[in-house]
């Protein structure tokens, strides 16, 4: 009888236990990114840009080079890094407050310039780190600490669909929205991110992967309820699937 380990923590993760809450989508996405970096053999040629948000701690967990960026500015930090090291795999990893609120100008101009980068966008419909405030992605009617009566179209407008918006730009080559609620969706998410990385490595250009991600802490839900909330509610407004793919 022989034993073979068929699934284990990837080398591109450190041993540090994720500091994220139970059931937090950041953990899952951190993990699949690390697995992909392993699979692509890029650990020694990857430079990641962490956001300001719960994932600011990403550099505690990823065992490859990572830099901080001021809140919202990760895409332009990544742009400069990529221009300095065009042969490296460079990606930014950003929450929805970071990317869709304060960082709106940065992501748009980066997309429009068509930088050869991969952007991983974690949409959990609120500001996790600061305690669950409303984000531009917060659903209509969703109660948060700054929309205690629920997000209201008249005051706050509609939730922004970053993927659909960025897909309009001619320089944007690949956009897909995924989720990480069960094994099947995690596998799809990983495939999408892999495509985003490969696009960069083969010079195709700007790729954007949006991940619908649970924030059980601020949604005040247990992880299984949070998962169900994504499957049943959030992905109704933000449909998962391929949005743009140009060779």
């Amino acid at each position: 009888m022989a034993e073979k380990i068929v699934y284990k923590k990837p080398d591109s993760l450190t041993d540090k236990i994720f500091s994220y809450c139970w059931g937090c989508g950041h953990s899952t996405v951190h993990k699949i990114i690390a697995e992909l970096i392993d699979e692509l053999g890029m650990r020694e040629k990857t430079i990641a840009v962490a956001p300001v948000g719960c994932a600011v701690f990403a550099y505690d967990f990823w065992n490859f080079d990572t830099t901080e960026a001021a809140h919202g500015r990760a895409p332009v930090v990544a742009t400069a890094i990529k221009r300095v090291h065009p042969g490296h795999l460079v990606f930014s990893y950003q929450g929805d407050g970071d990317l869709a609120s304060i960082g709106m100008a940065e992501i748009i101009h980066t997309a429009n310039r068509g930088e050869n980068l991969t952007i991983i966008f974690i949409n959990n419909t609120n500001y996790g780190m600061t305690g669950g405030q409303m984000a531009p992605t917060t659903l209509i009617g969703q109660k948060t600490t700054t929309s205690p009566a629920g997000r209201n179209i008249k005051q706050n407008g509609y939730p922004i669909k970053m993927s659909e918006m960025l897909a309009q730009f001619e320089s944007v080559k690949y956009v897909e929205r995924v989720k990480v609620t069960n094994a099947a969706s995690v596998i799809k998410a990983k495939k999408a991110i892999k495509k985003g990385f490969l696009n960069q490595l083969n010079g195709t250009g700007f790729s954007f992967i949006e991940v619908l991600s649970a924030c059980p802490a601020n949604w005040r839900m247990e992880p299984l309820a949070a998962k169900a909330h994504i499957d049943g509610v959030i992905s109704k407004y933000y449909p998962v699937g391929l949005i743009k793919d140009i060779k």
């Binding site: 034993e3 380990i5 068929v6 699934y7 139970w22 059931g23 937090c24």
Partner: protein, 76 residues
Amino acid sequence: MKKGRIRIDEERCKGCLLCVEECPKNEIKKGGKINRFGYTFAEFCDNGSCNACTLCAIVCPDCAIEVIEITEDEKK
């Protein structure tokens, strides 16, 4: 049919139970003990039906599950 088992890292597991929901063989359950972070971690049932499909490990956010495939040396 393949055979397998899993190892749950009690320190890493936060008891979110995504693996419990995922496992097609009901081989994982909510445990009875807490770890030093106060989480009630998941437990492998070891009912013999685990086939190392890795679905639990794939869905586990916290990289707490290692999956081991067991191959019989001689096939019958």
